[in-house]
């Protein structure tokens, strides 16, 4: 049984939030998530008990911490179903996407090659590819999306052609929560000899990931969106692709040796990509985060999140002053506008009632042409949210007016 009341007790933030006046309702989980006590404990344990640097076994403690760190690679590998040496730790999802764009795409793409993406991508999965295009002369093409930002297999087939060398897509969009059929799209991509990069920032935390079964080539995600500390992300890459790939960050830890004349011997993947001291406690925290999520199980997580989403959507649909953008999407993201009130004012008003949501374009700045609005308000659900919290959110929206929003500044 999924007991959300019990789960919430693991999150110190939520325990305080419930006592606050007004009660705080955190619905910005697509931006980042709250941390359970077990993750906090893992971080504090590093500071108080280990605290040393990794990747060297010169003394016992360093060896232990290095082992613990490498152990997390195994945890992540099991979590997304790949091999440990295919897991590259980065400073976040953005860094992971930059690494694959710079280290792989910039190396292999040529003039006239095509990078295929959607207009719903997050800036972190757009701008690195713009640079690749600029540097290599490759072209960017966009996939057709329907008015809920959904990519259909038919649409994908039509857009795919022989010059496409890289397809890059968020598995779940951070604005509209649209879920992409990754396995089918990967198969189609491979049929054309192209490779696929998946931005899993919004999917890995909420649904089971099977990189091997799906056969995706690269997958990026961020720890902080799945209960872990900030400062840590992951790039999964097929080992043979990682071998071909250049590092993005250069420095200590990524090389075995070098000489005066510029000859450098890099380590094997994944180490050649991990220059510099990484976010050690971040990685150890990620381990605790994954354990937490796996103990709950994705089946229960998804069911709970979708139930809350549908419950909320059904209520909001009844408000004439609310426009919903993604009624049908199968994830915990609710994108809407209050007619006649700018998003920032809506968010500020909700904040005055304790409800935390995000306003604006959510770093997906190409999407406006699809959904015919520059900005949306986004409420994003995590497994620790409750129906009672959604009710506070719904009630707050019920009688929102422009006047009330403006009155906040008096």
């Amino acid at each position: 049984m999924f007991e959300v009341g019990k789960i919430r007790q693991d999150f110190p933030f939520l325990m305080k939030a419930e006592q606050a006046d007004p009660q705080l309702v955190y619905l910005d989980n697509a931006a980042t998530t709250l941390k359970p006590q077990s993750v906090i404990d893992a971080v504090v344990r590093y500071y108080t008990e280990s605290s040393v640097n990794i990747h060297r076994g010169d003394y016992a403690l360093s060896y232990e911490v290095s082992n613990a760190y490498e152990g997390v690679r195994k945890t992540v590998a099991k979590f997304i179903q790949c091999e440990p040496n295919e897991v590259v730790f980065t400073s976040g999802a953005s860094a992971a996407l930059n690494l694959v764009a710079y280290g792989y795409a910039e190396k292999v793409l040529k003039q006239e090659d095509v990078i295929l993406m959607s207009e719903a991508e997050h800036a972190s999965n757009v701008l690195p590819w713009f640079r690749v295009a600029e540097k290599t002369g490759a072209k960017i093409e966009y996939l057709p999306l329907d008015e809920e930002g959904v990519l259909t297999l038919e649409g994908f087939k039509e857009a795919l052609h022989d010059k496409v060398k890289i397809v890059t897509l968020a598995h779940i969009s951070n604005v509209l929560g649209a879920v992409v059929p990754i396995k089918e799209i990967t198969a189609l991509t491979h049929q054309k000899g192209a490779i696929i990069v998946v931005d899993g920032a919004q999917s890995v935390p909420h649904t089971k990931t099977f990189v091997k079964d799906w056969d995706v080539d690269f997958l990026a995600f961020a720890g902080h969106k799945m209960l872990s500390p900030t400062g840590v992300g992951v790039l999964y890459g097929k080992f043979e692709l990682l071998q071909q790939m250049d590092p993005f960050l250069l420095g200590g830890g990524s090389n075995a040796r070098f000489d005066k004349n510029g000859h450098v011997v890099l380590k094997n993947p994944p180490f050649k990509f991990e220059a510099g001291t990484p976010a050690i406690e971040g990685v150890l925290g990620l381990d605790a985060a994954i354990c937490y999520i796996e103990a709950l199980g994705f089946e229960a997580i998804e069911q709970h999140e979708l139930e809350l989403k549908h419950y909320t959507v059904e209520k909001l649909k009844q408000f004439k002053h609310i426009k919903l953008y993604n009624e049908k999407s199968q994830s915990g993201i609710i994108a809407f506008n209050v007619i006649g009130i700018p998003t920032q004012d809506v968010a500020a008003y909700l904040s005055s009632l304790g409800v935390m949501v995000r306003a604006g374009n959510h770093c997906a700045k190409l999407l406006s042409e699809i959904i015919h609005t520059q900005e949306t308000v986004r409420a994003s659900i995590n497994f620790y949210n409750t129906k009672a919290e959604m009710d506070i959110f719904i009630d707050a929206l019920k009688d929102i007016t422009l006047e009330k929003c403006i009155d906040l500044i008096f």
Binding site: P342, Q344, A359, G360, N361, E375, I406, D407, I409
Partner: protein
């Protein structure tokens, strides 16, 4: 003025009015205008302000863009407030306005309708909105002085 300040209903009316019917809400194709695109600081508000300055006087101000109620209304009010003012007067008005949003003592007479934002400083996260137009016109004035 002081009475007016005490009546939020009137102040709200001023803001509503400037939000729903923003004054000088257009851009011009005119090279003699200075232009400030307030885009490289935030990714929410996206306002462009244009100003024509001649003979040391702000002859015209206009603006366009996507913004929240407070950004739109405050920029609209700013445009009305500064058109026709000398650069010295404008600079003084801007400086009084900044004092007001910082909740410091300020000259009410000078700010006219802009006093509608006298309490915005209590919502620290909205100060940016309430000052975006003023920041933009400052940029225009700076550019103008630089060109002289």
């Amino acid at each position: 003025m002081s009475d007016l300040l005490k009546d939020p209903l009137i102040l709200r009316q001023i803001i509503m009015d400037h939000y729903e019917y923003p004054r000088n809400h257009h851009l011009v194709e005119d090279e003699t205008y200075h232009k400030a695109h307030m885009a490289s600081e935030s990714c929410i508000d996206d306002i462009t302000v244009m100003a024509k300055i001649e003979n040391n006087v702000i002859q015209d101000v206009c603006f366009d863009g996507i913004a929240c109620t407070i950004s739109t209304a405050s920029t609209s009010i700013m445009s009305e407030l500064l058109i026709g003012k000398t650069l010295e007067e404008a600079t003084e008005i801007i400086s009084e306005y900044y004092k007001m949003v910082e909740l410091l003592p300020y000259d009410e007479e000078m700010l006219q309708e802009a006093v509608a934002f006298h309490q915005v400083g209590k919502q620290a996260n909205r100060i940016k909105c309430a000052t975006i137009g003023f920041k933009a016109i400052e940029t225009c004035i700076k550019e103008h002085k630089h060109d002289q």
